[in-house]
Structure formats: C-alpha cells, structure tokens
Symmetry: C2
Subunit: 427 residues, 2 copies
C-alpha cells in the first residue's frame, strides 16, 4: 500500500463502537471524526454503524457529516456510545464466513476503504479478520483498531482508554465511602464492601487501592481475580482490621474466585461472547462476614455507574481516548493496515506518554492481568510499583459543562444513510 | 432568657453529629464552628462529641479550638462526619432518664451552656428532651437543632441539607447509566434498575426523575414508597417501555412496598432506632423482570456512595448546610431555645431562599412524604410541580480541591479533652 499512497483515490470510512461502553469512548469517536474532517482530500464521508458492527451488517449507517462541529466537540464530554455499541461477536472465518462477506458487501456498496473499530480484545480480532477477508475477496479495506476497555486488559498498550476514568471513579468512591464508614463505625456499620467490574483482570479493583494515601488507610482489603480467594484468610483479615481500626473497607472484583477457579458469584448466564455474566460477589462476602463474624455490614454494587461516570472522568484518560482516535486515522492514511494505536509510557513521575502502533494480531484475544509485583505479598493490596503505574492514569479532572444542575451531554442526530443494497441481513 | 441576654456569662458549647452522615454535614459543622469563633466574647470553647452523642455520654470530647482555620475551611468540602457520628437513640425521658441525666452531668462538668445537635427527626426529639431535662435538673442548656438528612423528610423546612447533594448524585448517575443502557440495548441489557435510599419518603427516588430533560426520556419508571407497588402494573409498564423505547431505566426506592405495606426487600434486621434495615429491592425487581418478561437486566445499588459523594455535591446544598450551622449559633445567642433553623423558599425561578426558625417540637419524630401532586397520576414519575421543587436543589457544582487525582479531604486532629468526671458511662 505505501507505494501507491500519494495517488490513493478518495474513499469513505466506517467507524463502529463495540462492546461495553465507557466514559470516554465518544472522545475516541471525536478523535476519529476530527481527523477524517481534517483529511477531506483523502477521506470522503465518515459513516458510523448504528449499534456498532450490527449497523454495518444491516446496512444501517449513520452519516457523521450531518453532525455539527459543536456536537462533535461535545462528544469529548459525553459518556456511552453516541452511535450505539453492540455485544455481537463475529466468530472464526470458517464458521462465520457469511457475516464477514456481508460486511465486505456493505463496505463495497458504500465505497468504504477504511474501517476504524473501537473496542477491546474481541473487536481487535474482528478487525483483523475483516482486513484478511477483504483482501481474499479482492476488496481492500484498511482496518485500524481503536483501543477501548474499562478492564485495562489489552496487551502491549501501557493502559487502555476507558480504564483511567473508571479507576478514578472507583478510587474516589472508595475514598468517600471510607470516610462515611469511619465516621459511623462505633455504633453502626463495621464492614463495607464495594463490588467493582473486572471479569478476569483486577485492574479496576487495584484502582480502589489509590484511595489509601498512606499505609493502613482504607481500603483495607482488595480482592483480585489474580489471587485465589480463601475464606478463612479473608475472614481473619476482616476481623483483625475491625479490631485494630474499628472498621474494614473491602474492594472486591466481580471476578474474585477460589483456588479451583470457581467464581464467588456466578450468575449462571452467559453473554454474546460466551463470557460468564458475573455479579453478586459483594452480597456473598457480606453473608460470609455476617455468618462468620457477626459484624454489621453494607455493600454497594456500582455496576454501569462506574463505566458511565463521565462527571468524574480522568483528564488523562479523556486526552488519551481522543489521541488514539486521531492516531487511528493518521495511521490508516500513512498506509498502516491491521494495526492499533497504543499508549506508550515515557515516564511515570512526571507522567509523560506518547502514541505508538502495534499489529492488531498481537493484541487480539489476549488479556493482560495485573502483574504479581503490583499486588502486595499477602494478596490484599497494591504495592508501591502498582501505585506508581496506576496513579498517573487518574490524574486531572475534565468536568463536563452543566445545565440546570446536570451534565449537558449531547445526543447526536444520527442521520440514517439511504441503503444501496437490495438484500437484507437478519441479526 | 432574652431579658438577661446582654449579661449572660460566657459559656462553652457542644456540637454533635447524629445518624447517617451526608456529603455536607461537615459544612454545617464549619458553620457552627465559624460562628462560635466569631462570638468568642460569649462562647468559650466549642467541644464536639467523638462519635456524636456517644462522646458526650462517655465524656469523650474533642476540642475544636485545636483545629486550624484551614482545617475548618476544608470541612466545607469534606464528606462524612469529621468528629464521628452515631446511630444511638435516647428514648423517652421516663425510660432513659439515666442517660439524659448523664448528659447534663457531663455538660455541667464542662460548663456547656449550648448544645447544637446536627441530625434528623430522631435527633431533634433528643435535643428537645435535653432542653427539658436540663431545666428540670436546674442546669439550663440552650438546645438548637441543625437539620441534616439525605432523606429530606423533615417537616417545616423547605428542604434538608444533605438531600440536595444525594439528589444531584442520583440524578447524574441515572442520566449517565441511561446513556450507557441506551447505547447498548439492541444487543445487550434492556432493563436497568438503580436502587436508591429513602426508607419511608421517596424524595431521593424522585430526584432520579430530574435526569429526564423532556417527556419520554429515562428514567421511565420511578418507584416511590408513597405509591403501592403492583407487580402486574410494573411489568406491563416495563414491557411497554422496552417495546417502544428499546430499553427501560428504573429508579427504585429502597422503601418500595406493596398495598399491604410489605417492603419488597426486608432484610429482616433492625438498626438502633428500631427501623427495619432495607436493601435488595433492585435484585427483587430484576428477578421479576427476568421471570416475567425474560429481558436481560443489570442493576446497581449505590448505598453509601450516594450520601458520601462530595465530589458531585450540589452547590446550593453546601451553602444551605453551612448557613444552618451558622444560624443555629446565632439563634442560640439571640436567646432562642429548642428551635431549629429551616430553609425558607422565597421563589423557585429564580431560586431564592432564606433561613427561618421553628420550635424543635414541631419537627421531632415527624416525617414529610413526597406529596401526591409531585408524582404523576400513574405513580411512575414526577410532575412539573415536583420538578419545580427539586430542580433548584441540585443547582451548581462545588468541586473539592484535588491532589494526585483524588479529592483532598481533611482528617481533623480531633484532640481529646481531659475528663473531669470520675464516673464512667458504658454505652
């Protein structure tokens, strides 16, 4: 491709959001849109998929050109997926060939030469396959991933847009709830449990540890999926903490599991990607505390609140989300295909970062766990190294504008593009 | 009293925080402290009770004079109870006489002539009784209440410090989670439930309704304790909403109950005030939705996060909390006894308010419910009148300062005062 770059004909582009949304995925969208608008000589219309890849399969495209500059700017402070996202996984090429071919058919009908896919591990796998099948079908599409996941579990990149903001939300919430419990523990709640997201990797739970300014501060116990849960050790630590501190604050990952790999709270259902749907670790732990120690407890389950909390987003995270969106377009125009922009850390104190690039195949379907040396030896906290890694990611506030006491989030027009195919596709 | 005011000898004062803490109860503490410091000619030392009234009973007093001006200023942006609060109810005079007498004994030992009690309905009852028994025992104490409760259920006052901030937190969280669910509903979660506080009064649930900028916006269903819950009507509305909007967002009060007055989720335990401890409405509703309609659901339980969320406090609430603290001291020095400052609304648009005064006896042990005309006829939303009442209370942001990505909340020195009594008191 690079050889023919200068005389590449102008082609359209397609952007889709995938998987669980975040507080800053729309900042990435804004980055993609701004960069496409900047390069009008080379990119025609930037389409977005309504409800992510589903919009491509059903030829339900949105013309982002119909959105005002003010609306696109507002995306930078609006959480969730402004075009709609989807939990919809394309499987292996041999099993799901019809779907991949349909994608290429839609791309061909709308002269789409660039595909920007904003998602996590699964989505990078899809982007990779689309680039392969396009070439097999004689229709070249430049596919560039845009990293996104609150779970922070993508490899290679130092961190992942979406994580910094949920990390800040959990750290702030842990700090605030700890102040609450501390002030009432003498006559009321002794044990407080905050259940946080993180299916397999404990990055979000680790972020709760930032609430402790110094050793001994709450949270007193963090439960990571990476550390096998042991009921007796847990209860002993809760008891010791209540006896010495007067109360105990616990941050528990939804993915907490025992030595045999059994999740503490397996709801028994599976999502579209085949992942077990979790939830209910906090009440399970609370029941253990009640039965085993008899302490009064409270627990909170932040659920979607944590990943949509744009009101307390990390400024660093917003900036990185926007930067990877812009970089994806620049990479594509520079002839890079099947790559993904990554965050490269240059230094932690002061925090400095830049954007790099990695082949998508190195990222697809891989998960980055919290390394053991970020977790204290007893398995219940984060180390100085862990803190050094995490702390810069929650730095800075990026408050949205407010109207009548509420964040003034934008809802896009999302103008529908006229279909060109006679065939339909049922999801 | 007024006649002898000008020659009243200088006496000490005592301040205590009571019941569940809020994001702004420390702003009230700052108001009390600032006003006492301003009137050094008439008020000697302002003591605070460590862990509220428990600190008075056990003669565990804190000398607030040891705190720097900077620390007191920082109280205005620090959530929870800086001196410790307590769930500890003094019962009727005839049943609990020893405790009341002990209080007066401690007050006498430390020459305490002013008692500022920062709490809700129960605490106002206690303050009233202390003023009565002091006079019976020949030791006059001027008792002034300082209103505080996230539940907003105190009568007479237009609103109650603590409520505006939890209202803002719930409105913002509902808005953000709604954006999240809307963007993923096509292939993922269809029904989202946020369980909020509010034991008997649905004020906090009502605040979730502020997230809707216009008719039809989420939240689509609000469940109030004031409206009898009916399973069939609820499920029919969920179904209709999912079918027309694609998803359904529900804000449910923890106090939601059926026509027979049975709470949807009674955990079966009781707190120190004899109130049933609630929790679990959201999972109960989620199970109904799953069993009755089969939709994919998610739910969140904000618990303490909602009442400690100083990071998203209402500016109006912070100002009112500070103002009632200051007013309490001014009232006491003006010779008013057994009174409580109240917020008086002068107009809603633009919002203007002032501070009034009410005899504590008119407030004690009474609860103000959400009036029926604030709730839509179908019982599932708030009316324009409800919105007109609520909206000004969440106006304005009052961000705390940040350090390393986290709010810079203050921890006081809380210097212990030497005991003067030889007797001890066991709680």
């Amino acid at each position: 491709m690079p050889a023919s770059r200068s005389k590449t004909p102008k082609r359209n582009a397609f952007y889709a959001q995938s998987g669980g949304v975040t507080a800053v995925i729309n900042a990435s969208a804004a980055g993609v849109i701004d960069a496409c608008r900047k390069h009008k000589d080379r990119i025609g219309t930037l389409y977005a998929g309504r409800d992510g890849i589903v919009g491509a399969l059903t030829e339900d495209l949105i013309d982002t050109g119909k959105e005002s500059a003010a609306a696109i700017k507002a995306l930078r402070h609006t959480p969730s997926g402004a075009f709609g996202s989807a939990r919809y996984k394309l499987k292996d090429l041999d099993k799901d060939r019809a779907r991949y071919e349909r994608l290429i058919e839609v791309f061909r009908a709308h002269d789409i030469g660039y595909f920007f896919y904003n998602g996590g591990n699964d989505s990078m796998d899809t982007a990779h396959k689309v680039s392969l099948i396009g070439d097999q079908m004689g229709y070249h599409v430049t596919c560039v991933g845009v990293p996104k996941t609150v779970d922070n579990d993508l490899p290679v990149t130092d961190c992942c847009p979406g994580f910094g903001s949920v990390a800040k939300y959990i750290a702030v919430s842990t700090l605030e709830a700890s102040f609450d419990v501390a002030s009432m523990a003498r006559t009321s709640t002794k044990v407080f449990i905050l259940e946080v997201m993180g299916r397999h990797a404990g990055w979000i739970a680790a972020a709760g540890g930032l609430a402790a300014r110094k050793a001994g501060d709450p949270p007193h116990i963090i439960l990571f999926p990476e550390i096998a849960f042991d009921r007796e050790r847990f209860l002993a630590r809760v008891k010791e903490t209540v006896e010495t501190k007067g109360y105990c604050v616990i941050v528990a990952s939804e993915g907490t599991k025992d030595a045999e790999g059994r999740f503490l709270a397996d709801m028994g259902t599976r999502d579209a990607f085949g992942h077990v749907q979790l939830g209910g670790v906090a009440p399970t732990l609370a029941a253990m505390v009640k039965d085993g120690l008899g302490y009064k407890y409270h627990w909170a389950l932040a659920d979607y609140l944590q990943r949509s909390a744009r009101h307390i987003a990390s400024k660093v995270d917003v900036e990185q989300a926007y930067a990877v969106g812009r970089a994806a377009v620049e990479f594509a125009l520079a002839g890079q295909n099947a790559v993904m922009p990554v965050i490269v850390r240059k230094s932690s104190k002061p925090y400095r970062w830049t954007i790099g690039s990695v082949p998508i195949a190195e990222v697809a379907n891989k998960e980055k766990m919290v390394p053991r040396h970020y977790i204290t030896e007893d398995g219940f906290g984060i180390t100085a190294a862990g803190r050094r890694y995490l702390e810069p990611l929650i730095a800075g506030e990026a408050y949205p504008p407010y109207r009548a006491g509420l964040p003034d989030y934008v809802r896009l027009r999302n103008a529908r593009v006229r279909k060109r195919l006679k065939t339909t596709f049922v999801i």
